[in-house]
Protein backbone atom coordinates (compact mmCIF):
# COMPACT_ATOMS: atom_id res chain seq x y z
CA UNK A 1 0.00 0.00 0.00
CA UNK A 2 1.47 3.36 -1.02
CA UNK A 3 1.84 6.11 1.53
CA UNK A 4 2.06 9.91 1.48
CA UNK A 5 3.88 12.33 3.75
CA UNK A 6 2.20 15.05 5.75
CA UNK A 7 4.08 17.93 7.29
CA UNK A 8 1.70 19.17 9.96
CA UNK A 9 2.24 22.65 11.42
CA UNK A 10 1.12 22.94 15.03
CA UNK A 11 -0.65 25.93 16.58
CA UNK A 12 -1.95 27.00 19.97
CA UNK A 13 -1.97 24.31 22.61
CA UNK A 14 -0.49 21.78 20.12
CA UNK A 15 2.75 23.77 20.23
CA UNK A 16 3.78 21.77 23.28
CA UNK A 17 4.42 18.90 20.81
CA UNK A 18 6.76 21.06 18.69
CA UNK A 19 6.50 23.26 15.59
CA UNK A 20 5.82 20.53 13.05
CA UNK A 21 4.73 16.88 13.18
CA UNK A 22 5.74 14.57 10.32
CA UNK A 23 3.19 11.84 9.55
CA UNK A 24 2.73 9.10 6.97
CA UNK A 25 -0.72 7.85 6.01
CA UNK A 26 -1.97 5.56 3.22
CA UNK A 27 -2.57 7.33 -0.08
CA UNK A 28 -6.29 8.06 -0.38
CA UNK A 29 -6.74 8.70 3.35
CA UNK A 30 -9.34 11.20 4.49
CA UNK A 31 -8.70 14.14 6.79
CA UNK A 32 -10.56 12.18 9.49
CA UNK A 33 -8.00 9.37 9.13
CA UNK A 34 -5.22 11.94 9.47
CA UNK A 35 -6.81 13.16 12.72
CA UNK A 36 -6.84 9.60 14.05
CA UNK A 37 -3.17 9.28 13.09
CA UNK A 38 -2.36 12.58 14.88
CA UNK A 39 -4.16 11.40 17.98
CA UNK A 40 -2.11 8.16 18.03
CA UNK A 41 1.13 10.02 17.29
CA UNK A 42 0.69 12.21 20.37
CA UNK A 43 -0.21 9.12 22.45
CA UNK A 44 -3.87 9.97 22.85
CA UNK A 45 -3.05 13.17 24.75
CA UNK A 46 -5.41 15.96 23.75
CA UNK A 47 -7.39 13.45 21.70
CA UNK A 48 -10.64 15.36 22.18
CA UNK A 49 -8.88 18.55 21.11
CA UNK A 50 -7.63 16.88 17.90
CA UNK A 51 -11.19 16.08 16.86
CA UNK A 52 -12.39 19.58 17.86
CA UNK A 53 -9.68 20.98 15.60
CA UNK A 54 -9.68 21.41 11.83
CA UNK A 55 -6.94 20.75 9.31
CA UNK A 56 -6.19 23.33 6.67
CA UNK A 57 -3.82 23.82 3.78
CA UNK A 58 -2.57 27.35 3.16
CA UNK A 59 -5.81 28.37 1.44
CA UNK A 60 -8.71 26.88 3.34
CA UNK A 61 -10.00 24.45 5.93
CA UNK A 62 -10.33 20.91 4.56
CA UNK A 63 -13.47 18.97 5.55
CA UNK A 64 -13.10 15.61 7.37
CA UNK A 65 -14.23 13.81 4.20
CA UNK A 66 -11.53 15.39 2.01
CA UNK A 67 -9.25 12.75 0.41
CA UNK A 68 -5.47 13.13 0.21
CA UNK A 69 -3.65 11.67 -2.80
CA UNK A 70 -0.22 13.26 -2.53
CA UNK A 71 2.29 14.67 -0.06
CA UNK A 72 0.95 17.82 1.56
CA UNK A 73 1.68 20.53 4.09
CA UNK A 74 -1.18 20.97 6.54
CA UNK A 75 -1.87 22.97 9.70
CA UNK A 76 -3.91 21.83 12.68
CA UNK A 77 -6.10 24.66 13.96
CA UNK A 78 -7.47 24.09 17.47
CA UNK A 79 -10.56 25.99 18.71
CA UNK A 80 -9.92 29.72 18.28
CA UNK A 81 -10.10 32.67 20.70
CA UNK A 82 -8.80 35.76 18.90
CA UNK A 83 -9.26 39.43 19.59
Amino acid sequence: MSELSISLKLFGSFRKFGQVLNLRVPTGSTILTVKEKISKTIDGQESELVFDSVLADNDAILPDTHILNEDIKLSILPPVCGG
Partner: protein
Protein backbone atom coordinates in the same frame (compact mmCIF):
# COMPACT_ATOMS: atom_id res chain seq x y z
CA UNK B 1 -7.81 43.57 -0.90
CA UNK B 2 -9.43 46.80 -2.08
CA UNK B 3 -9.36 50.39 -0.93
CA UNK B 4 -12.31 49.81 1.41
CA UNK B 5 -10.62 47.12 3.50
CA UNK B 6 -7.17 46.99 5.09
CA UNK B 7 -6.27 44.05 7.35
CA UNK B 8 -2.89 43.35 8.93
CA UNK B 9 -1.17 40.83 11.18
CA UNK B 10 1.61 42.71 12.96
CA UNK B 11 4.38 41.98 15.42
CA UNK B 12 4.90 45.70 16.07
CA UNK B 13 2.71 47.93 18.25
CA UNK B 14 -0.77 48.51 16.81
CA UNK B 15 -1.61 52.13 16.00
CA UNK B 16 -5.02 53.68 16.67
CA UNK B 17 -4.33 56.78 14.60
CA UNK B 18 -3.41 54.61 11.59
CA UNK B 19 -6.73 52.74 11.94
CA UNK B 20 -8.65 56.01 12.03
CA UNK B 21 -6.69 57.52 9.13
CA UNK B 22 -7.41 54.53 6.89
CA UNK B 23 -11.18 54.49 7.39
CA UNK B 24 -11.77 58.27 7.59
CA UNK B 25 -13.55 59.42 4.48
CA UNK B 26 -15.31 62.68 3.67
CA UNK B 27 -18.55 60.88 2.73
CA UNK B 28 -18.64 59.00 6.03
CA UNK B 29 -19.71 60.93 9.12
CA UNK B 30 -19.05 58.21 11.69
CA UNK B 31 -16.14 56.06 12.80
CA UNK B 32 -16.55 53.38 15.42
CA UNK B 33 -13.51 51.55 16.68
CA UNK B 34 -12.78 48.71 19.03
CA UNK B 35 -9.48 48.11 20.78
CA UNK B 36 -8.66 44.92 22.69
CA UNK B 37 -6.22 45.28 25.58
CA UNK B 38 -4.41 42.65 27.66
CA UNK B 39 -6.10 42.72 31.08
CA UNK B 40 -4.31 42.20 34.37
CA UNK B 41 -6.75 39.50 35.43
CA UNK B 42 -8.89 36.73 33.99
CA UNK B 43 -11.30 34.49 35.84
CA UNK B 44 -9.78 35.44 39.18
CA UNK B 45 -6.15 34.85 38.15
CA UNK B 46 -3.50 37.59 38.01
CA UNK B 47 -2.27 37.83 34.44
CA UNK B 48 1.15 39.22 33.50
CA UNK B 49 0.83 38.91 29.73
CA UNK B 50 -0.45 37.00 26.72
CA UNK B 51 1.11 35.27 23.75
CA UNK B 52 -0.92 35.56 20.55
CA UNK B 53 -0.42 32.73 18.11
CA UNK B 54 -1.90 33.06 14.61
CA UNK B 55 -1.89 31.16 11.36
CA UNK B 56 -0.76 34.31 9.58
CA UNK B 57 -2.00 33.50 6.07
CA UNK B 58 -5.36 32.07 7.08
CA UNK B 59 -5.92 34.72 9.77
CA UNK B 60 -5.42 37.54 7.29
CA UNK B 61 -7.71 35.70 4.87
CA UNK B 62 -10.34 35.35 7.62
CA UNK B 63 -10.12 39.08 8.47
CA UNK B 64 -10.50 39.98 4.79
CA UNK B 65 -13.47 37.63 4.32
CA UNK B 66 -15.20 38.92 7.47
CA UNK B 67 -14.77 42.55 6.36
CA UNK B 68 -15.96 41.71 2.84
CA UNK B 69 -19.10 40.11 4.29
CA UNK B 70 -19.68 43.17 6.51
CA UNK B 71 -19.29 45.45 3.50
CA UNK B 72 -22.13 43.52 1.83
CA UNK B 73 -24.28 43.80 4.96
CA UNK B 74 -23.56 47.52 5.47
CA UNK B 75 -22.84 49.23 2.13
CA UNK B 76 -20.69 52.39 2.00
CA UNK B 77 -18.63 51.28 5.01
CA UNK B 78 -14.82 51.09 5.25
CA UNK B 79 -12.73 48.73 7.41
CA UNK B 80 -9.39 48.48 9.17
CA UNK B 81 -8.43 45.40 11.20
CA UNK B 82 -5.03 44.79 12.79
CA UNK B 83 -4.21 41.83 15.02
CA UNK B 84 -1.05 41.49 17.06
CA UNK B 85 1.15 38.38 16.68
CA UNK B 86 3.53 37.53 19.53
CA UNK B 87 3.86 38.40 23.21
CA UNK B 88 2.16 41.31 24.95
CA UNK B 89 2.35 42.56 28.52
CA UNK B 90 -0.66 43.81 30.46
CA UNK B 91 -1.96 46.98 28.78
CA UNK B 92 -0.72 45.93 25.34
CA UNK B 93 -3.07 46.21 22.36
CA UNK B 94 -4.03 42.88 20.78
CA UNK B 95 -6.52 44.07 18.18
CA UNK B 96 -7.78 47.26 16.58
CA UNK B 97 -10.91 47.39 14.45
CA UNK B 98 -12.16 50.62 12.90
CA UNK B 99 -15.24 51.07 10.72
CA UNK B 100 -16.46 54.22 9.02
CA UNK B 101 -19.96 54.68 7.68
CA UNK B 102 -22.21 57.49 6.47
CA UNK B 103 -24.29 57.40 9.70
CA UNK B 104 -23.46 56.27 13.21
CA UNK B 105 -25.73 53.24 13.64
CA UNK B 106 -23.97 51.16 10.96
CA UNK B 107 -20.52 52.00 12.32
CA UNK B 108 -21.43 50.53 15.72
CA UNK B 109 -23.20 47.50 14.24
CA UNK B 110 -20.50 46.63 11.72
CA UNK B 111 -17.67 47.06 14.24
CA UNK B 112 -19.44 44.77 16.71
CA UNK B 113 -20.05 42.26 13.93
CA UNK B 114 -16.35 42.21 13.00
CA UNK B 115 -15.11 41.52 16.53
CA UNK B 116 -17.71 38.78 17.13
CA UNK B 117 -16.82 37.11 13.84
CA UNK B 118 -13.09 37.29 14.53
CA UNK B 119 -13.55 35.74 17.97
CA UNK B 120 -15.23 32.67 16.49
CA UNK B 121 -13.78 32.35 12.98
CA UNK B 122 -10.18 33.59 12.75
CA UNK B 123 -7.29 31.17 13.48
CA UNK B 124 -5.92 32.99 16.53
CA UNK B 125 -4.97 31.47 19.89
CA UNK B 126 -4.11 33.00 23.23
CA UNK B 127 -1.70 31.71 25.85
CA UNK B 128 -2.12 33.41 29.20
CA UNK B 129 0.86 33.94 31.49
CA UNK B 130 0.18 34.14 35.22
CA UNK B 131 1.96 35.79 38.11
CA UNK B 132 3.11 32.33 39.36
CA UNK B 133 4.98 31.90 36.02
CA UNK B 134 2.56 29.24 34.82
CA UNK B 135 0.92 29.53 31.37
CA UNK B 136 -2.22 28.22 29.80
CA UNK B 137 -3.68 28.11 26.29
CA UNK B 138 -7.25 29.38 26.48
CA UNK B 139 -10.16 27.27 25.24
CA UNK B 140 -12.03 28.55 22.21
CA UNK B 141 -14.56 28.05 19.43
CA UNK B 142 -14.09 25.02 17.19
CA UNK B 143 -13.76 25.84 13.49
CA UNK B 144 -15.51 22.53 12.80
CA UNK B 145 -18.58 23.17 10.62
Amino acid sequence: MNNLILTEVLDTALDIQKAYDFVANSANGAVNSFVGIVRNNHEGKSVTGLTYDLHTTLAKKAFDDICQKALELWPETKYYVAHYHGELSVGGISIIIAVSSPHRAESFEACRYIIEEIKTKAPVWKQEHYIDRKSEWLPGHSLNG
